[in-house]
Amino acid sequence: MVDLARKKSPWAFHLCAGGGCNGCDIEVVAAEGPKFDPERLGIQFKNSPKHADVIIVTDAITKKNKKAFIEVYNQAPEPKVVVAVGNCAITGEMFRGLYGIAGTPDKLIPVDVYVPGCPPRPQAIIEGIRKAVELLGGKREK
């Protein structure tokens, strides 16, 4: 019964790690609106990590933000999936190797789905969330 709710109506939370141009954050906010409608697939965006099934991560991790990032990730209850949106969250793109960057998100937390693009289109972001929700069903059974 709870599995049906997780599969049909996942709750998403957007977490920005800080090291990027924020273009991907704007595309995620555009994907929440009525033009590219995520509610058709049952996805709702919430404001708190304690309510999250799906965590959407953008931008590379900065040295200042490392500790807070891990604490916010730990506050989300199991089972959860992580979607890395944008090239900065995958390899750090233009910012790789620079003085303020402490790495990409998948060095600190396990990432399930990657959505490349700079920035990716909102349709691609919603497709990535949909694929992650299919993986979420497999995690509960374990």
């Binding site: 058709r40 697939l41 793109e93 789905v113 490349p116 693009g117 700079c118 691609a124």
Partner: protein, 105 residues
């Protein structure tokens, strides 16, 4: 009426199963396509790439990674033989970031 709809929704399949992917508009800068036969190895795209993802191989052809590219279009503009082009495709979702489909050479 509301009760009838609630009961029917358990029996019928949902209308939307996945996101529709319409074609991107004309001039959209999407996935990169490279033709090594036309390339003359001049090195202009390597010099002008802002995210330094294009690299020159020992046989004077190029190698680039789609997760390090910023899709600016500069390499298409400066190429003298037009062997590198940006298409209108944007759906690159994957679960493996080291897959072969994300490198272009």
């Amino acid at each position: 009426m509301g009760l009838l709809k609630a009961v029917m929704s358990r029996a019928l399949k949902p209308f939307t199963k996945s996101e529709k992917m319409p074609l991107a508009p004309e001039g959209f800068r999407g996935k990169i396509v490279y033709e090594p036969e036309k390339c003359i190895g001049c090195g202009l795209c390597v010099r002008f790439c802002p995210s330094t993802t294009i690299k020159m191989k020992p046989n004077r052809k190029i190698l680039l990674n789609l997760t390090e590219c910023c899709y600016c279009g500069t390499c298409e503009e400066v190429c003298p033989t037009k062997c590198i082009r940006l298409t209108r495709e944007y759906n690159l979702v994957t679960t493996n970031k080291k897959s072969k489909e994300l490198t272009v050479e």
